[in-house]
Symmetry: D2
Subunit: 323 residues, 4 copies
């Protein structure tokens, strides 16, 4: 039976998730959209119902699963509300603005005794990342020892300030690095270029692998995510994100996507489909609340330690629910 | 309401379409699979019903739309059966083994007065082809004047003989070329390398644009489809089909897909989703029965004219249903 | 002892050859430059002598070898003058405006009984062409069966008319194809896009291999030469001519060279060095007068046969001097 | 008049330089080769003279300029010997095994009052590096803020131990970074992967630009040098070092060069030609003794500081001779 999904938040990401549920997700349908702005909710909902109160949506018996894409500060409280009524959640990153709040979600899930939260770290569903991981898993590059990440945005809105390049952007690299290497980060050091950007962040894993990441929010030229995983016998890197090459005006090349939505369009679609299937089968897939907590906690510790040299990263023991 | 789709044929393509309907198509579900081999039908059907008689599936009131992926010789008769009961069809290519049989489908649809057949020329839904077309439509390359196609298979089964490289493989290039250029082919000439392969086929359109195609069924190294559209001010070509690049054993590179299924996996998925949406909205999308007829008729005429020099291609007037 | 070389013609190519001899050719030096325009001669000559009469330069005892880069109509007469005095020649392509005149050079060399002429088909010294040939020679692609050539210029001067796209541009592909395949061309057919361009020229070799070539003089976007050699087990193609990739203004890409001089700068340099060494050792290297004649004869026959369908190409028997 | 050059050292690099002088350098010729092993000297010398005593070669009146490619420990003493007799030197890197010895060369040159030493940091003559620098100089990427370097070797001989990955390999990146950014390095920190390799070295320049470098001596898969220069408005990166792409055995790709000699063959040739021209004109070009000292001093300080966190780098004031 088709899964009725309610989407909370009708901003860029919420509207996008709603559209995926309306148009191109098997086994599910968009049952409702909730937004404080009714016109935005209606626009994203199409023929589905609308809510202005997220708790009402969560409580509604016609809603069997929830996508949370509202502002960051609401992520944890709304996830907790879903856990209270036992409804599966696809939760946009970050899990919360602070690790402490994120930890509440982990604790609640642990108390519940089963995993209902999938974090929206969509890169784990991206073809290029998956192919990198597959290459490593097949042994094509030998034991991984080093991961290079590059995360460039063409710019950021005014409110994107303070530690947000780390807590809102670099969290993606933290999650992807933990996933690709299957290891926890234990230390980090940062260099910042003049004016504070770009950042070069060097992390070490529990197995002493190195993760070297550039984070450049105002890279101007376009949205560009790149990674190369270095092993003892070879490396695997993302290919350029080009479907077609144009020769014109003396040059050959391709255009970058404007932002993460077109770049990861297929990953978002596959993430949604995988989540719906996971809800149907009851088998968790994708990043967990624990993964969400780790990403936010590591980011928070790195942001706090920026002024000093090397920051030792500390995480609580992983609850057995996440083994 | 979710569209119940029946799939006829549970071979490679039928099973693939069935899986798309089971797993990852919004607004539809797999209602039944039909195959002469019951165990194959069951395997593809999962929890859906199975049939051994395709006409029974077509007649079943629980089946609202049909995917035909059975052997080529059955394509036209089964499509005609669907038209008789007014059910929409996604019809695998070719429309029929002969243009004459394909024409019957066109005639039946014209008699019915509405379009119910979408041909499975999935390349029209491939990201690289779509980006090439978009580049041309946006004027990035000026007026198109020449199209290069390359179609290489690593090999073919024993039964793939005679004119089949033209009537079963090259039909894809005929369709893609008609679609990219928006023009009809009016002449063709062929060169064959020693041993009969590869073929170089040069076609001219009604506007004197040139379509130059290599067809190489036993290219050995892998499945590789490439195209470049040349305009007066620039060109647009497919990028290499690589998600990730591996450095190992002294080389950098990427692996080709084994065959058309992984290469066009996303195109098949998007084709299915677009067809389901088209059935829901009643607005035809994608290649029509007329397109299917043209591809097969052009291929047939080229195959018959192989021995001579240039073959003039003749098509009937396009019925107004397809304007 | 350093070889004193005289360069006849101080136009673009002559000046370029003179500069190579002045600056970066071992075992040789620029001894003189000849041009009807004295200021042009002086500019190209630097500290070397200048001539206005090419026959005087050829006769001068201080000149031990000659580069002919004067207008096409003078190529054959000047090459014949060099043969008369037994001086080695690096002769810019084409060997002559007509095959008949080119044949005189072959006849004179045959009468002389030794090879003194090296044709300036510089692509044989280009790294990409050499690597393609090496890949084929090493057996990486199996037996070659098909060669794709693309030759695009951003435009042409006013005087570049009539058959010149074939006799002055496409001659490069004729020579490169003969060299890569080690076979003679025996037939050709042409398709021209609306307005006469681009041309698609399909040739067959004596072993029935196919050579498929696009010639596009007014391709507008840049100077672009490409080739792919297709064998029974694989293919080898030129990589994009990029040293560096720039990300800017939403795009990634590289710039094409303005014309053949920067594109083949290294090939011209290696050609000159190889020729100087060949003069020193007395062992001919690179394309011969016979190769020059064949390229021009094939081009001439193709240009004459443009109106008809397939043109049978006829060449005289190859003199044993060129075995 | 042709410059008679003597080459000291007939190992891999010495023999290579000797061959360049014999075969493909304009304005110069190989006058002599010196090696402790007479047969090695003879083999590299061809028809040139041979020496077993480098000081005899340096003193010989037939030798007007010297290439020093003998073991590292001899670099500084032999360079000093050349300075004593006022002969120009192309000195293989590093300037000396220690910064203190390298400083003696700088001091001697300063005392002499004119620059006679060109360091063999050949990357400054590599096409890809030059194109990166040109892109930055043309303003295509805005103000540079970050440089990524990757230096991978397939392995190293037994004697390549201790700090040599830094003092013998990474010196190339130090020199290239100083040259590309036009700035001095002021601090560095290192991370080493398990087993000591690869290294990630993060340097900061006097303008707070960041230089992030991977050094991986036992990368196994091949010799691979890569760099990307990141500016405020764009980036420029080396293209893959491929002349041709082979499709075979299910893959597309290209082969890496075995080591730095084929990778930088053209750079070595252009370096030699530029040096010969510089000797002729008396205008210094390329990296100076000061550059050689800086590279070795920075490497030495980094190697010494490996155990600690961030190392502050200190250099003496640059003598005005090198302004």
């Amino acid at each position: 039976m088709s899964l009725g999904v309610g989407v909370i938040g009708a901003g860029v990401m919420g509207a996008y998730h709603a559209r995926l549920l309306r148009d191109s997700t098997g086994g599910a349908h968009l049952a409702a959209v909730c937004d404080a702005d009714p016109s935005r909710a209606v626009q994203a909902a199409g023929e589905a119902r609308t809510f202005s109160d997220p708790l009402a949506l969560i409580a509604d018996p016609g809603i069997r699963a929830v996508v949370i894409a509202s502002p960051d500060a609401t992520h944890a409280p709304l996830a907790l509300a879903c856990l209270r009524v036992g409804k599966p959640v696809l939760l946009e990153k970050p899990i919360a603005p602070t690790a402490a709040e994120g930890w509440q979600v982990v604790e609640a899930e642990v108390a519940l005794g089963r995993r209902l939260v999938q974090m929206g770290y969509m890169r784990r569903f991206d073809g290029a990342y998956l192919e990198m991981k597959a290459a490593a898993d097949k042994g094509l590059i030998g034991a991984p020892v080093l991961l290079h990440n590059i995360h460039r945005n063409p710019g950021a809105p005014d409110w994107f300030t303070g530690p947000m390049p780390i807590t809102n952007s670099f969290v993606h690299e933290i999650d992807a690095s933990r996933w690709l290497l299957g290891a926890e980060m234990v230390s980090a050091s940062i260099h910042a270029a003049p004016g504070g950007e770009p950042l070069m962040i060097t992390m070490e894993t529990s197995r002493s692998e190195i993760v070297s990441s550039e984070v450049f929010i105002n890279a101007a030229y376009g949205y560009h995510v790149h990674a190369e995983l270095v092993g003892r016998r070879g490396t695997v890197a993302m290919a350029a994100p080009a479907l077609a090459l144009v020769n014109s005006d003396g040059r050959q090349g391709f255009g970058f996507p404007d932002n993460w939505v077109p770049r990861f369009a297929q990953a978002y679609r596959d993430q949604m489909q995988a989540w719906v299937r996971s809800v149907a089968t009851g088998v968790p897939i994708g990043p967990s609340a624990w993964d969400g907590f780790c990403a936010t906690s590591v980011a928070e510790q790195i942001a706090r330690g920026m002024a000093q040299g090397r920051t030792q990263l500390v995480l609580p023991a992983r609850p057995s629910l996440y083994d």
